[in-house]
């Protein structure tokens, strides 16, 4: 079996599991309790906060707000910031390739009377600074651009975009770094990022935890009122086992990023070179500015779900697709349409994302499996 769908779900790193086993006693208390069991839990919570802060070079660990996942962090960032700052403006700008957990909160805000500006991307998935500059108005308070895209791998020029966003006071840049976190170096200070989303699962931690970095001075309001945990921004007793696991995963990812990304990039480049050599096959996303673990393609005359099924059943290789046939809405991926693909082209997409458990030796076999899959399905195709 070769699992190449790490963007959908990552296996928990065995070292994270070992950490949780070793610290089990400290993880059972409530960090809000004042007794010794609660204090032990509080220490674990704050240690995790420090580890996540270090991964993105946050200026203070208190700028990390733990949530139940990236979707919740994105909701807090978009809704919490737009609603809190509406006296300064009521327009939000969101790139056309954002995750659905950003697009849908943005649509929710539209129903509440906000304006939504969609920032287009070019054929490689890049947001152009000029285009963004032309779209923002003095009414724009929140801009959301992903650090890197999970479907096409493209890495955005975040630093350049942040400078433009900050030409206006009371305008904030939110960056979804779910796909980029732990894979490429992120420095929220030199990138001048105001809000940044991370997911535990994408770092190799357990599901059920995420984090929103909130730069000092950025004002937002909660979308989850309650007992006032997490500086009042995310109420509810902290999911400490998941959060502690996220902290340990962030520490491991930060320490290994350079060598691990270099290793996975070799696999990525082998996949792109080999699969790209199959006829009528095209890379999706940027050829150079892309995540080290991400190889995505589209194939002419065949459909993505049947590619996925064939790869899984015949070769034991798990991949993803942006084809309509695998989505709940039966619409192809909005990301693929945003980079200018037709519906027909978008149906033939395949996404491969590697992880720490992906062996370099796997690449030739995977390339061969893709070649056979494409040949078999094309032999069935009337196109």
């Amino acid at each position: 079996m070769v699992y190449l769908d790490h963007a959908s779900a990552m296996p928990v790193d065995p070292r994270v599991l070992a950490y949780l086993r070793d610290h089990g006693d400290a993880l059972c208390g409530n960090p809000s309790s004042l007794h010794s069991v609660g204090l032990a839990a509080r220490r674990e919570l704050e240690a995790a906060r420090g580890r996540v802060a270090a991964l993105i070079n946050a200026p203070v660990s208190s700028s990390i707000v733990f949530t139940a996942g990236a979707t919740e962090a994105n909701n807090l960032a978009i809704r919490g910031t737009a609603e809190r700052n509406q006296k300064h403006g009521k327009t939000i700008a969101v790139s056309a390739i954002e995750h659905i957990s950003i697009i849908n909160p943005a649509k929710y805000l539209v129903k509440q009377g906000f304006e939504l500006a969609t920032v287009p991307v070019d054929a490689d998935g890049l947001v152009s600074p000029d285009v963004l500059a032309g779209l923002m108005t003095p009414d724009t308070t929140v801009v959301s651009i992903n650090y890197a895209n999970d479907e096409i791998g493209t890495i955005e020029p975040v630093r350049e975009l942040a400078r433009l966003v900050h030409e206006e006071e009371h305008r904030y840049l939110h960056v979804n770094a779910t796909a980029a976190g732990g894979r490429i170096p992120i420095d929220v200070q030199s990138d001048e990022i105001d809000l940044l989303t991370l997911s535990s699962s994408d770092l190799g931690g357990p599901r059920g935890a995420g984090a929103l970095y909130v730069a000092p001075g950025v004002r937002l309001q909660t979308v989850m009122p309650g007992g006032g945990q997490e500086r009042g921004l995310r109420s509810g007793t902290e999911n400490l086992p998941a959060i502690a696991g996220m902290g340990e995963a962030a520490r491991i990812a930060g320490g290994e990023m350079e060598q691990e990304s270099r290793r996975q990039q070799k696999i990525r480049d082998a996949l792109i070179a080999g699969i790209g050599g199959i006829g009528e096959t095209y890379l999706t996303g940027h050829p150079r500015l892309r995540l080290p673990n991400h190889a995505s393609f589209r194939f002419g005359r065949i459909e993505g779900e049947s590619i996925l099924l064939n790869m899984d059943t015949l070769f034991g290789i798990q991949v993803a697709t942006g084809s309509a046939c695998t989505s709940q809405t039966l619409e192809p991926s909005h990301v693929l349409l945003a980079i200018g693909l037709t519906h027909e082209e978008a149906h033939g997409s395949m996404i491969m994302t590697t992880g720490r458990d992906t062996a370099e030796e796997a690449a030739p076999g995977v390339i061969d499996a893709v070649r056979q899959t494409v040949e078999r399905l094309r032999a069935l195709s009337p196109l």
């Binding site: 049947s306 099924l309 046939c325 032999a379 195709s381």
Partner: protein, 137 residues
């Protein structure tokens, strides 16, 4: 069907997806039917050879998802050897039932095989009626 919705494809769908029956095009077909289009993500083509009043050969080609391939394969198996009248009575539901069910959201979009078969029969009848051209899509 039970209370819970079907998760994934049945064994029979996977069998027809992995080992599709009657793939290809009949060179001198008596009727050809095409339904769907690549924009929707599914396109099927069924060609038939008719002797007397009976479908003696039938082939398909499909661009589309697993169920689109499996339903087309299944309809060729169901229709082979039937008279034209019998083949016209094959419905989308028959195809889905023979495949031991399809996931609910696949019932409409990729269950077009019976339609493709019916188109092929219409085409055959149009040619029989004297026109040498196939029926329009």
């Amino acid at each position: 069907m039970k209370d819970s919705p079907q998760i994934g494809y049945s064994k029979k769908v996977m069998d027809h997806f992995m080992n599709p029956r009657n793939v290809g095009v009949i060179e001198d077909a008596d009727g050809i039917g095409t339904v769907g289009n690549p924009v929707c993500g599914d396109q099927m083509e069924v060609s038939i050879k008719v002797e007397g009043d009976r479908i003696v050969d039938i082939r398909f080609r499909t661009f589309g998802c697993g169920s689109a391939i499996a339903t087309a394969s299944m309809v060729t198996e169901l229709a082979k050897g039937l008279t034209i009248e019998e083949a016209l009575r094959i419905t989308r539901d028959d195809v889905a039932t023979e495949l031991e069910g399809l996931p609910p959201r696949k019932m409409h979009c990729s269950n077009l095989a019976a339609d493709a078969l019916h188109r092929a029969i219409e085409d055959y009848r149009a040619k029989q009626a004297g026109g040498s051209r196939g029926a329009p899509d």
